[in-house]
Symmetry: C2
């Protein structure tokens, strides 16, 4: 889950991130991408893109909800909100107005592993953006009044986005059931009773620990010259003192799952039932070479789009499902999840849809995929890369999310080649190894009248 300060941006960016997980740059552009470190430890990546006179400026902090201290859930996302408040040099709202005045856009988002702030503007405004962003990295004014006001905002956000939405309530408890030790079990927005207690002392400690140049990645994608960006970055961010060294991001690890778990929410507001099955699988950062790439292709073949096995079998051929799909969230610092889900159509029962999905999973784990299927899946990836190349913010997101979860520029650039090398045997192997029903976690969302479904 990714949360953003403004509602609209949230949906757009969540979509962008899902896409970029499958969408690196074309190899031909690699030579142009420059990355370097400022003297204070801030990482910088510049991705030149001269098709239009715009630039996307992002600062990624390597701090997310999974890094929060016990009992302080929600502080990472809360802090993202606080970053829009007054600093010693600018009144609250001044940065936003500066962006709006030049016809730009800006937003921010928080996920398990990172918090990012971004603006899209004309290149002439880039240094001004850097100035604002550098300023709020260290100069926020955190008063009890600011804390209280913004805490009311996040509490209301939780009520409206989670507590009033049965799917969101279920998702939270499925996550906390799938993850029994690793902190991805804790919702990004936080548990209500802990959010209510967040205070100025917590916020100040969080700010001082994590909002430092040596814990940040600057990504600039657009109509810019890397040398000029470097000079600007040195003039703005470069003036900020390096913070204390942070310990390695070593988090509690998930123990082996030995059981099959279910989580069921029955609610009068639900009209059509649905289910999702999740497994703990390695991420790009934790996987052995080739495994995460194979999981990406497995998700694509099993349930990535309308060509997928699940869609063709359940929606098109059998006609029992309104939707049936799979996804793999590979760009995570720790072990991640592989998910399949489905919902019945017409008179079909949820249990029929679940059985049919399970049958496709069992088949792919038993028989593997065909070379033809695999080639077509790889081709669809290449196409999605071209599409991503056309979207400057997707490019910036891809570099930022990779660098914020333990990867580097080379990982992004070599990723298409690593995908191309995946064999049908590897796809079958990850399906057989990870998609084991007796070690899965299933969420059911049921209408009140189908409680006994």
């Amino acid at each position: 889950m990714t949360l953003s300060t403004r509602g609209l941006g949230a949906a757009l960016l969540a979509g962008a991130l899902a896409l970029v997980a499958q969408a690196p740059a074309r190899a031909g552009d690699e030579a142009e991408v420059k990355d370097f470190l400022l003297d204070n430890g801030m990482e910088v990546v510049v991705v030149p893109d001269h098709r239009a006179p715009i630039v996307t400026h992002m600062v990624w902090y390597k701090i997310g909800s999974a890094d929060e201290p016990p009992g302080k859930s929600g502080i990472a996302h809360f802090f993202e909100h606080l970053m829009f408040k007054a600093t010693a040099n600018h009144a609250a709202g001044e940065f936003d107005r500066a962006v709006a005045d030049i016809g730009g856009s800006n937003n921010a988002f928080t996920s398990y592993d990172y918090t990012a702030f971004h603006e899209t503007v004309t290149p002439s405004a880039l240094e001004q953006m850097m100035g604002f962003e550098a300023d709020r990295m260290r100069n926020l004014i955190l008063t009890d009044d600011v804390i209280k006001t913004e805490r009311d905002v996040i509490l209301e956000e939780r009520r409206s986005r989670i507590d009033s939405n049965p799917q969101a309530v279920l998702d939270e408890e499925v996550d906390a059931t799938l993850w029994q030790n690793q902190p991805y079990r804790i919702p990004v927005i936080g548990w209500m009773q802990e959010m209510e207690q967040l205070n100025r002392t917590d916020a100040k400690a969080f700010y001082d620990s994590y909002y430092r140049p040596n814990n940040a990645v600057l990504v600039v994608a657009g109509d810019v010259d890397p040398g000029a960006v470097k000079a600007m970055a040195e003039r703005t961010y470069g003036k900020i003192a390096r913070g204390p060294d942070l310990p390695p991001r070593i988090r509690p690890v998930e123990p082996e799952q030995n059981t099959k778990r279910t989580v069921t929410l029955t609610d009068a507001r639900v009209s059509v039932p649905s289910f999702s099955t999740q497994w703990v699988v390695p991420s790009y950062h934790t996987a052995k070479p080739g495994e995460a790439e194979a999981l990406d292709l497995l998700a694509e073949i099993l349930g990535g789009d309308n060509h997928s096995r699940l869609y063709q079998q359940l929606v098109v051929k059998q006609g029992i499902a309104s939707e049936a799909a799979a996804f793999f969230q590979g760009t995570m610092l720790d072990a991640t999840n592989f998910t399949v889900y489905g919902s019945p159509r017409g008179d079909a029962k949820l249990s029929d849809v679940e059985a049919a999905v399970d049958a496709e999973i069992a088949r792919i784990a038993r028989e593997g995929v065909t070379d033809d299927e695999l080639e077509r899946a790889k081709t669809r990836y290449v196409r999605s890369m071209i599409f991503a190349r056309d979207k400057q913010d997707d490019m910036a997101n891809m570099y930022g999310s990779t660098l914020a979860t333990g990867g580097n520029v080379k990982d992004v650039q070599e990723w298409p080649d690593r995908i191309r090398k995946v064999t049908a045997g590897q796809v079958k192997a990850v399906a057989a190894r990870y998609l084991v029903f007796d070690h899965s976690t299933i969420g059911y969302l049921l209408p009140q009248q189908q409680a006994g479904n």
Copy 2:
């Protein structure tokens, strides 16, 4: 779950602890119980018992597995083991031999909220025991070699007690599913991958934080004079310097449960299936006045013994269950669990047993209990108190566990009166409020051939 250093003692003590949760002292003895503080902050409780020339000496540390730092699961129990190693003044094994030489017994155990060490000896050896116990509170020699050797012991303990036992494996994942935020979700023995990493630095930090007189409760029950015990305690424990003040034991709190969860383990080693249903309920420490007492009586009436509704209905009348019972673990620092469980007999199906148990729960939540049932349950408590009064170590356990989980001597002494005041309406109210099926967590242990049960 309570773990002890020696296997035999573990089973005995776990039994004793389960018992004492329902077994305070007779009111007539209250005046004799003395409690006081040493100058260094160590709490002392003396319970005179002159029927036989023996004394039970216990030191309870207010540190358990639920206090462990993230990623360091098992360190509390590991430390219990390390306390039996060499100190600056005594070789490893010397304390044990001193106890054995005088025909005494000793052991230790670790639970979620506390770690305790105890010896039962003749009164003439009490001061010697205090000397040894005071010595190891601060003078342990923690070398890498000691750590490595004892770590191998706890790893083997985990393999033999948990990993090779399907019920124990299931219980761990049920706990971690019931508790999604509160640290009782983490097994006392620890997660294997974290236990493997425990090291000298972790152990030293743990020792220096928690093994201090101002974090300990001394309980002496037996043929002793409180004044003499006080003098001995001052001569031994009193010499230890007070440690730094510890912060209040405020742990992450469980969010409201909105779903019904199941956890299923299917294993070839299982011959008879069983289930257990758990709910999060308040403990004596977190409950509103009267609620925990009502939960204790609810557990007793519903499934406390052979007179209980579950036993009479399922085992005696219907004959479908080999066992059916309920229990409430009230002596905990944070919210705790209320559990019912059952297993089929003969040709009966597990689902029949579960349905019959659920029917009894629904009935008690809907119709409540009779005054007669309530009176008989209270009488059984009084009887169990008399039984406990006869067992010196149960008395000591009762005071120690209460004081280590936020209670005081008065709480123990007034507890029988508080039980006597519970009304039938209060019992019905807690059943209706807490035993809600849509917000429960059910564990299933199934034989391989009944996977589809």
